[in-house]
């Protein structure tokens, strides 16, 4: 029995409505409890900012990131954020680390922990490549992990939607989650991945997918229905059509509107729209490109059924990686960059392209502003999850830098002062003076996630929750984030303490211990008769089309480290 008592912490826990109040936190056997014995190890937090462990709900940290590593051996030596990037020799406690945007697996675990993050959600697992994702998960230390499985351009999904077989569709989703040991349903450019197989794309919600006679709107609604039928803990997680194209904010709002009538089966949103920064562009071409954030924020402010994450841009090198194959082709052609393209057989496409966000480019400057505009114009922080879509908008090691943008208008002005007039004309950010406080930041980085992913034991400091805790070397009353942003950045860059499951993993910004994290996956129950009928259909798919057999396709238990199975009951 191990006990820890965190004394005199300045606790910020939005789930309980606690806003920087002096409190003690008691921990026993990895959980937060009411009280501990006198033998408990004491951590004196002396008024330091204390939050639940951070939760990155959308990051590319296992799977496709490996293609990024192949393509960017030069990334291994980049050290743009000292202490959180570059080459670090192994120590007694840690393995060797390299990289910035595409660090090695160990570095991902250590660096997230240093930022005070304890849970990550891999944003895209192709079912076919799920084993690889889990092999990487195994080698990411400290963090709890889960992943979202890709269903948006899947043949079987589209056939069931076309043939109006919602029950079999739900059974297939349940099987797909089991096959890939995934946590939720990810939809990337619905239909676009299949169209890309023919060198094409879908142009919007009502453009039929070649050879399948279904539209992206039907795919979205079909999957949402199945998602709610299975009572999955997370809503559908949607990367909208037309990502990265000027004028796409209209598609984004249209997609959001589609979901107004979807009734969530649990106490959470009906739709999560991801990296909205890339989907909030106005204008008709790159010449008259401008921010569409005010329109999107306006809609979100009046809607209650959805949440979103930012996909904030960080200036400097980034690596875009997505299942949205046509977008990556466009990127590579436009930027004359390296391009990797992959066909995921019956399931999706994917691509990887490295790029560089420059404050001198007006397009990049406006992209940078759009992320912040979304965060600041949407009034309710509970609808927002902070992400950079790492490493698409920039590496997660820049989170502390990005927090200063959110918390300080002065810091934003500093950056904005380097922009061209053309860029300033295309954004609304200079007119926004809102500054987030620690409470709102805690909502966006941990507490909102807890609700979005139906994980009551994460993202909060309630009694009974997991003892994943970050203590930052920052005295909330005495530091004014709007002027002393350098202090804020420094504190968030290396937690004074990070506790994972009641174990001290980071102390004074250095790794103390590297326990293995858990892997969450969802097992949705489906009536046997429906499952059997569905299995017949996929058996045919494996016989006729797949390059692997079904037996070799499933992710087996041996691939999963410390599995946590979340059971749900499908309604049929």
């Amino acid at each position: 029995m191990s006990e820890i008592l965190i004394k005199n912490a300045s606790v910020c826990d939005p789930t309980q409505g606690i806003n920087c109040e002096a409190m003690d936190i008691c921990i026993r056997d990895g959980k937060i409890v009411d009280s501990v014995s006198g033998n408990a190890k004491v951590i004196d937090a002396e008024g330091k900012l204390t939050m639940a462990g951070g939760f990155d709900g959308h990051t590319h940290s296992a799977g496709k990131i490996n293609v990024g590593r192949f393509m960017n051996p030069n990334d291994a030596r980049k050290n743009l954020v000292p202490g959180l990037s570059g080459q670090v020799a192994r120590t007694e406690k840690t393995r060797a680390q390299v990289g910035y945007n595409t660090p090695n697996t160990y570095a991902i675990g250590y660096r997230y922990a240093k930022l005070g993050y304890t849970t990550i959600c891999e944003a895209a697992i192709p079912l076919l490549a799920a084993r690889h994702t889990h092999e990487e998960f195994k080698e990411i230390p400290i963090l709890d992990k889960m992943g979202l499985s890709l269903f948006g351009s899947n043949w079987q999904v589209m056939e069931y939607i076309r043939d109006k077989e919602p029950e079999k569709l739900a059974a297939y989703i349940a099987w797909g989650l089991k096959a890939s040991r995934g946590y939720g349903v990810k939809i990337v450019n619905p239909g676009g991945g299949e169209a890309w197989g023919w060198g094409r794309n879908v142009s919007g919600l009502y453009d039929p997918v070649p050879n399948f006679d279904v539209t992206p709107a039907e795919i979205l609604m079909g999957l949402a229905e199945a998602n709610e039928r299975l009572q999955l803990p997370h809503s559908v997680h949607v990367h909208c059509n037309n990502l990265g194209k000027p004028g796409n904010y209209a598609t984004t709002i249209e997609t959001m509107k589609l979901f107004e009538n979807v009734k969530p089966s649990r106490d959470r949103q009906a739709l999560h729209v991801t990296h909205v920064q890339f989907n909030a562009y106005a204008g008709t071409s790159w010449r008259d490109f401008e921010t569409g954030a005010p329109m999107v924020a306006d809609y979100v402010n009046g809607a209650d059924h959805l949440t979103f994450d930012l996909g904030q841009v960080i200036f400097g090198p980034a690596v875009t990686m997505t299942a949205d194959g046509p977008v990556e082709y466009a990127n590579a052609r436009m930027l004359h960059e390296k391009w990797s393209n992959q066909d995921i057989e019956l399931e999706d496409a994917s691509g990887v392209v490295p790029l560089f966000y420059s404050p001198k480019s007006f397009v990049n400057a406006v992209q940078w502003a759009i992320g912040l505009e979304l965060a600041l114009l949407v009034k309710d922080p509970w609808k927002i999850m902070f992400t950079t879509d790492s490493p698409n908008g920039g590496s997660f090691v820049n989170y502390p830098e990005a927090f200063t943008y959110l918390m300080s208008a002065k810091r934003r002005e500093e950056v904005i002062s380097g922009f061209s007039k053309m860029a300033l004309d295309r954004m609304v950010l200079p007119g926004i003076d809102r500054e987030l406080d620690f409470y709102e930041l805690a909502v966006m980085t941990r507490s909102a996630q807890s609700k979005m992913y139906s994980m009551p034991e994460k993202g909060n400091l309630k009694v009974g929750s997991d003892a994943d805790i970050a203590i930052y070397d920052l005295l909330p009353g005495q530091v004014d984030p709007s002027t002393e942003y350098a202090k804020v950045k420094k504190a968030f860059s290396g937690a004074a303490y990070t506790l994972k499951g009641g174990e001290i993993v980071v102390k004074d910004g250095e790794i103390e211990a590297t326990p293995k994290g858990k892997t969450y996956w969802v097992n949705a129950k489906v009536p046997e008769s429906i499952d059997a009928a569905m299995q017949k259909d996929i058996d045919l798919k494996f016989r006729k089309y797949y390059t692997v057999s079904k037996a070799n396709y499933m992710v087996e238990d041996s691939y999963i480290q410390k599995p946590v199975e979340i059971d749900t009951e499908g309604v049929f």
């Binding site: 393509m71 960017n72 051996p73 030069n74 990334d75 030596r77 004359h336």
Partner: protein, 252 residues
Amino acid sequence: MQVVKLSLKKANKIPIEADNVNPDNFAGKPAEEIRAFLVWYGNGQCPLGDLFNVEVEGSDSAENTKIVFEGDVSRVKRIGQNMSAGEIEINGNVDMHCGSNMKGGKIVINGNADSWLGCEMTGGEIILNGNASYYVGAGYRGEACGMRGGKITVNGNTKDYLGEHMCGGEILVKGDVGLLPAISNNGGKIVIEGNATIPASEMKNGTVIIKGEVSDLLPSYKEEGTEEVEGVTYRKFMGDVNVGGKGILLIR
């Protein structure tokens, strides 16, 4: 003037990484201090004095410091890395990455050089009185830019990928070069007095002059008349059109 003479005590089979052996580090230092410099030898570090005989004459600034390697150092890597002034003379063969990331000064090699000679250099001069291996003046794996400035003169032949991803500076090769010289170039000037095979593929910018024979010239160049350089008339090609390049390739 300060002269530092280094000679291997014993020929080494396991490579030595002499990445801190340059005039900037040695200037003004007595022999004992130079002997104490730690270099990587295999997977461990050891003092330079354990591997080399070190003799020092005089004491001066980096500009007036000369390092002389006596004898073969064909298993000593990264000599002159990051140097910004002074001179290094190598009287023998040298291993990979000699003069990499060099900013200034001069390296003279009286022998052959292994791969990555002068990779990513931004200034200074390298004179090689022998043959070079692969990737002379090239870039780190995956990087978009290799050599950016300075000059490399090879008074012998080189192997493949000469000046890969070069963005500036000048390379002169008196002998023949291997496959794909000037691949993906984006600036700078390469003069090859001997023969070359498949030159300047995917070149975006820069100038390549080949005085000898060219084998397998890619079809992705536009011929645009002739140009005279130093009294010699060359056929002028622009390309590589596959990448919208505006590089100039002059061949006979």
